[in-house]
Symmetry: C2
Subunit: 725 residues, 2 copies
């Protein structure tokens, strides 16, 4: 009996691993399985994320700080975080076999980072307490914990694609650098001896390293006409040099970088997804072999419906019976009462398709006032609301509203019109609620209904409060006005109905991947440049204000253009400067430190613009192509077909079976006209990144790809890359 | 007899049409065929190109001119050009059937453009002679002639892809503009009332249209930190607005544009290439049906070798016999003496693969001094020269040379080292000539040998002349030094051996496509802005100098940064300004004219950056992916296999047959050791754009795609797009 419970536990772990695409090959002893379940518990995972966020957020409070805290406070918090990571590590070590643990570079990386952080913390504390100068260098390592401690598969995948693309990128990069160096040499010889002057009056193109840097910046297009003007002013023929340079380096090489990144990205991602699907199927096969009963015609192992029902409830406790029946009917297509291995393996994929069960219920008003609700006028209203025209009319109203927002709000007509628009929007919501059953209207997947209602109701309250404050001549806070205004603008977004299309895109944007790199550069930048540039409030009277507190900046464009707030004095402004650098390389900082600090800027451009932005573009490209070429997975299609059949009443037997089983949702009422139970697939698009990736390469992955024979070692991923960083 | 001659003529036209991918469906009457041959004659085509270049180059001489010419002169030249185009048109009309002529929008476009140009010329002449103000508006239409008159298939194809992508691009563009407009609205409301000031002291974000323009420019990244600084200085929270804006509009939408262009480009190009191949096969089938003799086993029509030989000579008069035999042996794989339709159709593809016939001949020195040439020392030298190490040593020498170029040339050591390097390079060439037969060394396809020799010899002469001038203390011209220096730098390029790889890429860059758009914008820009900004020589004393001759520019950054030479005062500087605009939008011009001139800059950005640059990137992407995935066409592979067989002496019968036939190349001498005749495929990569395109989509085009049944109408292209412009 105890053995059976253990087996079911193991089974549950296999299926949920397959469902959530985990690829940890844990110990199968009952104790380890229990620990593994705890390890994957949502609470433990959330806790780890919380500690990581706290650890990363420490940069806000450490010197140079946004909000300064004493060293003992930040150190204590950091020690707590590091201890938590250590505990998590020990937990993990207990779950998987010893030899596997030490083979995984991910674990070694975490241990090294945690140890180094402890050492750094000790040294820093000791030095600081004795009054010496010290650098917290281990802060640079923190993002590695984010990458390695969590189950940040997406993130690790992104870094793996970067690593895989590196050899080819570096080949193109060498060619590119060679080209820049040769062009610089030509520039030195062509312009150096002519005694030309830049607009600052300094000699133009006389130092080789300066030229290399200037021409590199030209690739980022930051100093576009300026760098060329002295030569152009001297002779029009010299522009040929710059035109060639721009065509070759700025356009052709940058396109090559994109092409290299894109082709590598595609190739390696495909291989990884294939491995992922393989691992998933392997786990499902394991799960199947745990509980099949030999009962098929050909004697092949099968699983019966009762057992299946029982197990699905274990894996997904909140699944409703109708949904479960639907899934079964998809798998057991021929109504045999049992399914083979092939059908069973698809369970994990099926569970990842979000199906919404809609029960068509009568409107509350219909129950209370049936005659009124069914009167011709009421019917007409409901008809109108469901028309496409109704949506168009409100789109028009939103457009008119947009124009009114743009007008001067001091004008009484405009401010009164606001009330009119609010009333119209309220009317829209009420009409829709009248025409649609409220519970269906506010169903979980109707994002836009929730959005509308919340926006409009808050705008209504905000406007009322605001006009009340105005009437009593109290102080009208700028903040309230701003909030109301933002609410008003948010309404406009509704117009972009197709924004739904980019649902999947917004998910893709692996922001955390960028943040890791930004974080590292911010840390380094703060150590290099902190305090070099200072910002003074506009009304300050300090004489340092005009050169940002640094005499080296006297008279530079940096100070003239009032860029003083672009500094590395705390982590927030560092991030903002790095974002500016992403858009346009802006290197005023090299004036205040040693010239070698340029390396920092060039490195940042290479890493972020050449590699990361290109990966981002590559993902959008690929996803876009997939969106337009591949439609739905086979499984999703067969599910949809089943749902359609149910709606057409083809398979009424199934509906009846579902309804009689449906003790959780209560008895049906209007079962004569149409099936009262309806299913909907939440989105035609896969909602998760993994789903999207799988779809990208689906055509290449055969469902027959069973791998039961293979050893788990072969399909375990050689995980992260950070050990080599 | 006369009939047969006509038939052979028709046959020749069909095959050469297929070979050069022409898709004109001409009249098949003997007279029309003869006219058609004349129409396609290289002299006629060159003449047309010459007239087009002259016509486009007129912009250099017309007001505003680089080199002013009187109106009567430019008008006369233009009239001559237009007449030439009309004659070409009439010629074309005689070649193809009447109804076809009027159906083709390309022809109508040409007629309209020529007519309009004549009308404009008349009006302009009349107005100018009576002293009125007049605009030469028809100059904008000139590039259309380049697109339509010539057989600029590549160019028309690029424009067709643009047109096909337009619906989808405009959908994304609408979303993008909506986003920009909403963001501008938010900016107006958030920042407008706070009384912030820009660095110029003007109010910040108070006018809606100004904001829209500023935020649009932010998408081009031109005003990146500047536009944000006042808000950032006020409060750090406002940066959230800009960060959101940059992520959404600058990165996501721009990637969407690329994705849309790329996916459409791929889709439509595929279809076009399919059509092209279909048309080619259709022509080859026609040609086959003209001359086959029913003689096959199954009674199917075949062509005999003698007839084939005769005809190949007609189509490609300068083909040597060995090459012809090789082709025949590829087609007639089983040595039947005749080929069927399937094999015949491949002739056009085979002819487009460049095969180089190499005859291994003894070295001239070997003939004169056989004992010396075969001595051990001589053998050793030849052995060394052919080693890979020899190349590496010279690569190292080039690198050292690069360092010396960078050093100060006033230093006597450096200037003397130059002689050393020259000697080393000369030695290399002499050694190579000693080791390789001179005629083989200077063969037509050995580009790098030619390149080296020319560069080194000219550098030698230049250096000698220069030092002679120096010695006699005459004036050392800067120009000679520059030329020598350029020659020196060009040597470095040899280091990039892999630059060969980008051979096909450089072809792709459809520069003329870009030039057409640049030309149109330059014409419009000149009408709008000519004379508004003036450039003064640096030593001029005019007080207008500091504001570029336009009081409106007083104190603007445009004047401060000395951008005065960025003007539209003639066609050359217009092109340079437009190039600068491509790299970074720089809109100082809006200060000197009406604010609506901004439309010009925004339009330019949309057309060039969003559409054309993206198509360029898409082509590189696709070509790169193809380069790495598809290797060679089947036909090329079978040709290579045949060549290998010949080298291995497998098919010695064929070699003998070739050599005995080879009366053009003289008798062979050293036929015992190895076959003295060797073939090489000129490049593993397809050299022509069409070839590359065909390879791109080869997997989708089945060779069985015969279309003899189809009507030519269906495969005639509905040609250009310009009628709708």
């Amino acid at each position: 009996m105890r053995d059976l419970a253990n087996q079911i536990l193991l089974w549950r772990v296999y299926v949920s691993d397959a469902q959530y695409n985990r690829n940890i090959f844990f110990d199968t002893s009952p104790q380890a399985v229990r620990l593994y379940l705890l390890y994957n518990h949502w609470f433990m995972q959330t806790l780890v994320y919380a500690f990581i966020i706290v650890n990363l957020a420490l940069a806000l409070f450490e010197d140079p700080a946004v909000v300064p805290l004493p060293i003992w406070a930040t150190s204590t918090i950091e020690i707590i975080c590091l201890s938590a990571f250590s505990v998590r590590m020990v937990h993990y070590a207990k779950v998987i076999p010893k030899d596997k643990f030490w083979k995984d570079p991910k674990n070694i990386c975490i241990i090294v980072v945690v140890t180094l952080s402890f050492i750094d913390l000790t040294i820093y504390g000791a030095l600081k307490s004795t009054g010496y100068f010290a650098i917290r260098w281990s802060r640079v390592l923190r993002p590695l914990l984010l990458v390695n401690v969590t189950e940040g598969r997406q993130l690790r995948r992104a870094f793996r694609s970067i690593r895989n693309a590196l050899p080819q990128i570096s080949y193109v990069f060498l060619l590119f650098m060679f080209s820049v160096l040769v062009f610089s040499l030509v520039a030195l010889k062509l312009f150096g001896k002519r005694g030309l002057l830049t607009i600052d009056g300094s000699p133009y193109f006389t130092d080789y390293l300066d030229i290399v840097f200037d021409l590199y910046v030209l690739v980022t297009t930051a100093n576009s006409p300026d760098v060329m003007m002295p030569a152009y002013n001297y002779s029009v023929f010299f522009t040929i040099f710059f035109i060639l340079y721009i065509i070759i380096n700025t356009y052709t090489f940058m396109s090559f970088f994109l092409a290299v990144v894109y082709s590598n990205y595609k190739k390696h991602l495909k291989e990884e997804v294939r491995q992922l699907v393989k691992a998933r199927r392997f786990k499902m096969c394991r799960a199947f072999s745990l509980l099949h009963e030999a009962r098929g015609e050909g004697g092949e192992p099968v699983v019966t419906q009762t057992k299946w029902n029982h197990l699905v409830k274990l894996v997904k406790p909140n699944i409703n019976i109708a949904h479960r029946e639907l899934l079964w009917s998809v798998l057991d297509d021929q109504n045999k009462g049992h399914i083979g291995k092939f059908a069973f393996v698809q369970l994990a994929d099926l569970l990842s398709i979000q199906v919404i069960t809609v029960k068509s219920q009568p409107h509350p008003i219909q129950i209370c006032f049936p005659s009124m609700y069914n009167s011709p006028v009421s019917r007409f209203i409901r008809y109108v609301v469901h028309q496409r025209m109704f949506v168009y009319v409100y789109d028009l109203i939103i457009l008119v509203n947009a124009v009114f927002i743009g007008l001067d709000e001091e004008n009484p007509v405009v401010s009164n019109a606001e009330w009119g628009f609010l009333a119209l929007y309220m009317l829209e919501i009420i009409l829709k609620l009248y025409a649609t059953e409220p519970r269906a209207f506010f169903a979980r997947h109707h994002f836009w209904n929730w959005f509308d209602t919340i926006i409009i109701v808050s705008a209504l309250f905000g406007t009322i409060i605001n006009s009340a404050l105005k009437h009593c001549k109290c102080y009208t806070s700028r903040q309230i006005l701003d909030i109301i205004f933002i609410l008003r603008v948010l309404r406009l977004i509704r117009l972009v109905d197709s924004i739904k299309r980019s649902d999947s895109y917004s998910q893709m944007l692996n922001k955390s991947g960028l943040c890791v790199v930004y974080y590292i550069f911010a840390m380094v930048g703060m150590e290099l440049f902190k305090g070099k540039v200072q910002f003074f409030e506009p009304n300050s009277t300090s004489p340092d204000q005009e050169y940002c507190g640094n005499p080296l900046l006297k008279g530079t464009t940096f100070a003239k253009l009032n860029y003083c707030k672009n500094n590395f004095n705390n982590v927030v402004s560092s991030f903002i400067v790095l974002l500016e650098l992403t858009v346009v390389n802006q290197c005023g900082f090299t004036a205040v430190t040693h010239i070698s600090a340029r390396i920092f800027f060039v490195l940042f451009h290479i890493v972020v613009v050449i590699i990361i932005i290109n990966i981002f573009v590559a993902f959008i490209l690929e996803a876009f192509l997939v969106e337009y070429t591949i439609d739905k997975s086979d499984l999703q299609t067969s599910l949809e077909k089943k749902i359609e059949e149910l709606e057409d009443g083809v398979d009424t037997g199934l509906v009846d079976a579902m309804e009689s089983n449906d003790n959780e949702l209560g008895p049906s009422e209007a079962g004569k006209q149409k099936p009262s139970l309806m299913f909907k697939i939440a989105s035609r698009r896969s909602r998760t990144v993994d789903g999207l990736l799988q779809r990208m390469f689906e055509t290449d992955i055969r469902p027959e790809d069973f791998v039961e024979e293979e050893e788990p070692e072969n399909i375990n991923f050689s995980n992260p890359v950070f050990d080599s960083v």
